[in-house]
């Protein structure tokens, strides 16, 4: 034992250190359910006695220690899993976005119900067939007109819902670009604060938590990749273009595509390059907006154009019941504006190939025969088969997106579990630590008490020899 006063210091240091440990445990327990929180732990280190004191008081053999101190508050982290997690998260969010939007198209089209385009098309053909069998029947004529309107309405509503969905993607794209900008600013600010903390030799654990959360979200949004530098700052890039470097960010702005006024694009403010990530929600949006929707829209337009062209040609070549020339049947040029000619009434249907024969229905039969003619896809498919193919293709794409989404989710969950396993707070663990800390605190306090009693002896009870 060296001296009473240094002994009391050892006890004091122990009490203070254990209190600090207790506070770290408290912080962990408080944040047991906080998203992105990394478990912290106070690292205790034994303090060796200062050399001068050691020499002076070294009566016995060996050096005496000077108690305990908290050397640092450590943050449990696993940067390998962070990188892996973010790369899977960006894939997953792209698939998840695609599958939800594609499901919307399927729901809008309703191809498996009896209200789908495919059924409307079949009913349209059949109404011509019925009329061909009984050409003077006026109710069958009305039927042709109403089935044709049902068909054109279905074309219109399908293409309108695709256009509306495309517009939604524009809005979604702008929202995501804004979010990337604001997250980039957050990361840049945190970069600054983190360096400040490191420069005064402190561990900015909770700032690091916030920055990791922002980086997770940036990966989900656009597949952003980050690298940590020696000074603790991160550099964030998307598709190799710098988003955050130190305290500086490169802004993203949204503008109308110069080639197509109906769609927006995201451009980098520094060099004007277009941002088109393959992954992340933005990647998913671009895929849906620029690939799937135009594909479906184009198919609908081609079908409508073929139908307009073929039916009009045949109908114009026919004669009405009173022998006048038949004109166009459909108006419009594509799926958005296809419609049965406004002025057309039941008696204007020109289904006879002869001016005088009312029982002739050759034209109606020919229009019906368009059903099985290979008019689409370089004259290799009938209109119905072509549409069936398009529906099946979309269904396969949707199925793939759903499958990939669920597979990626499984991987993502496993990775998150790995991360959690290292960084998460276990209450049992904290309870155990709490108990040991409490005991250590109690023991240190008891020690101090002992010193106090010893000092009492030295100060108050010594040197009273003979007095009482």
């Amino acid at each position: 034992m060296a001296s009473l006063s240094s002994g009391i210091n050892v006890a004091l240091r122990a009490v203070l250190s254990q209190t600090q440990v207790m506070e770290v445990i408290e912080h962990n327990v408080a944040n047991a359910n906080t998203e992105g929180y990394h478990k912290q732990s106070a690292v205790l280190r034994a303090v060796s006695m200062s050399p001068s004191t050691a020499t002076y008081y070294n009566y016995g053999s060996g050096q005496l220690g000077a108690g305990v101190t908290v050397s640092q508050v450590q943050r449990f982290t696993q940067s390998f899993y962070d990188t892996k997690y973010r790369s899977v998260a960006s894939e997953n969010s792209s698939w998840s976005y695609q599958s939800s939007e594609l499901t919307r198209i399927e729901a809008d089209f309703g191809d498996l119900s009896n209200t789908g385009l495919s059924t409307a098309l079949d009913e349209f053909w059949t109404s011509w067939q019925d009329l061909a069998a009984d050409p003077t029947n006026s109710s069958l004529r009305t039927m042709v007109l109403s089935d044709a309107s049902a068909l054109t309405n279905k074309f219109n509503s399908n293409s309108q819902s695709l256009v509306a969905l495309q517009q939604d993607q524009n809005t979604a794209l702008k929202d995501r670009a804004d979010e990337v900008n604001s997250l980039a600013k957050t990361v840049a600010d945190l970069n600054y604060q983190i360096t400040q903390a490191y420069s005064v030799n402190q561990q900015p654990n909770d700032l690091l938590d916030s920055r990791d959360l922002a980086l997770d979200r940036l990966a989900e949004l656009a597949g952003a990749v980050s690298t940590t530098q020696d000074n603790g700052q991160v550099i964030v890039t998307i598709n190799g273009h710098l988003l955050v470097s130190g305290q500086n960010t490169t802004e993203l702005s949204t503008q109308t595509d110069p080639n197509d006024a109906s769609i927006n694009q995201i451009v980098w403010s520094d060099n004007g390059d277009t941002l088109s990530p393959q992954t992340g929600e933005i990647g998913g949006i671009l895929k849906v907006r620029d690939e799937y929707i135009p594909g479906q829209l184009n198919a609908l337009n081609q079908m409508a154009a073929t139908l307009i062209d073929q039916v009009n040609t045949l109908h114009s070549s026919g004669y009405t019941q009173d022998g006048s020339d038949g004109g166009n049947f459909f108006s419009g040029t594509d799926a958005t504006n296809i419609s049965v000619l406004d002025t057309l009434t039941a008696k204007d249907l020109a289904i006879s190939s002869s001016k005088t024969e009312v029982g002739n229905s050759d034209i109606a039969a020919k229009i019906y025969n368009l059903r099985s003619q290979k008019l689409m896809n370089g004259n290799s498919q009938s209109i119905g088969d072509y549409y069936n193919d398009k529906v099946t293709n979309l269904a396969l794409i949707t199925e793939t997106a759903k499958t990939n989404k669920s597979q990626d989710s499984t991987v993502l969950d496993a990775l998150d579990e790995q991360r959690q396993s290292v960084t998460g707070v276990s209450l049992d663990e904290e309870a155990a630590n709490l108990t040991t800390t409490q005991k250590a605190y109690q023991a240190a306090a008891r020690l101090m008490n002992t010193y106090d009693e010893m000092l009492d002896i030295v100060i108050n009870q010594m040197g009273l020899v003979g007095r009482s």
Binding site: A32, N33, L102, T103, E106, A107, D111, L112, G116, S118, T119, D122, E123, W125, T126, Q129, D130, A132, A133, D134, P135, T136, N137, S354, T356, E357, V358, G359, N360, S361, A365, Y368, R371, S372, G384, N388, V391, T392, L394, A395, L396, T398, E399, K402, D413, D416, E417, Q420, S421, V422, G424, V425, S426, L427, D428, A431, A432, L434, T435
Partner: protein, 295 residues
């Protein structure tokens, strides 16, 4: 592996979610009786089901046409049957006119009158209408085909066009019998015979008989041919009905839920969900070390 409290909670929620989704899916399949609602749930069967539905609708269209054709041809056949009877009567009348025991007066009066009556009936039959359309006037459906002009000669107002109808993917039938080729010769022969009776021209009458018999044979042949076509239509309707049954059962197997199977799966999934909830509630509410530490 180090397990944290948040891990167990997340894990539990995720598994409950997965199980509930599966139970929901099967409930939906049972309630809707369809094994898929959108094409992406089963793209290949969905495509097949769309094709089958289309085939059924198209087949229904052909059947509609076929039954219209069938009715038309029945009307035709029944008129031609009556015409044959009339032709027989006329032939018998002419034969008895040629009989030596028949007097000239009888020929020129009562027999001629009777034949005129038969002619009028034949003209009426030639003007038979089905659903407001004349069936023997070719494609001039609205124009009455047969009439007598002021000289008592037969006029034909129709044309000789045929009406071809599709009653199957690649099967077309002519549904009408044109009046000018089938009926006109018969009525003309009757008129000729009547005129010969009136004139009491027995030699001429025997020539008329031959013409009349030829016209009768020709009408009979046309009727037989039309009957054969009508049978073709009937057969094709039967065949399409047969095909429909097959298509329907295929469609059912593609898109309908196997209810018994689904019910069993639902039961299993429900049990699984129940277990997850049970175990989960115990794991989550389990006491942790904090509860046991003596303060």
């Amino acid at each position: 592996m180090r397990i944290t409290n948040m891990m167990s909670a997340n894990n539990l929620v995720q598994h409950i979610q997965e199980n509930q989704e599966q139970v929901y899916k099967i409930q939906e399949q049972i309630a809707s009786e369809k094994s898929f609602e959108t094409p992406s749930e089963d793209p290949l069967n969905a495509s097949a089901s769309m094709k089958l539905k289309s085939a059924l609708l198209i087949s229904q269209g052909y059947q509609n046409t076929a039954s219209t054709v069938n009715e038309w041809m029945s009307a035709t056949d029944s008129s031609m049957d009556q015409l044959e009877t009339l032709a027989n009567n006329a032939i018998n009348l002419v034969l008895s006119g040629l009989d030596d025991g028949t007097s000239s007066t009888e020929r020129s009066t009562s027999m001629a009158t009777e034949l005129t009556e038969i002619i009028n009936q034949a003209i009426d039959l030639g003007n038979t209408k089905y659903k407001d359309s004349y069936i023997f006037s070719g494609t001039n459906l609205n124009d009455q085909p047969f009439a007598l002009d002021e000289n008592g000669a037969l006029t034909y107002n129709g044309n000789s066009s045929t009406m071809v109808r599709g009653v199957g993917q690649s099967s077309n039938v002519v549904m009408n019998v044109a009046g000018d080729s089938s009926i006109s010769p018969l009525i003309k022969a009757m008129i000729d015979a009547r005129d010969k009776l009136k004139l009491d021209d027995v030699d001429g009458l025997s020539v008329s008989l031959e013409t009349l018999q030829n016209a009768f044979t020709s009408l009979s042949n046309d009727r037989t041919a039309s009957g054969a076509r009508a049978r073709q239509v009937t057969n094709s309707i039967a065949a399409m009905k047969e095909t429909d049954t097959t298509l329907n059962s295929l469609l059912n197997s593609k898109e309908n839920t196997d209810l018994a199977d689904a019910a069993v799966v639902l039961k299993a999934k429900q049990t699984a969900l129940q277990s997850v909830l049970d175990v989960g509630s115990r794991a989550l509410s389990a006491l942790n070390l904090f509860d046991y530490l003596q303060q």
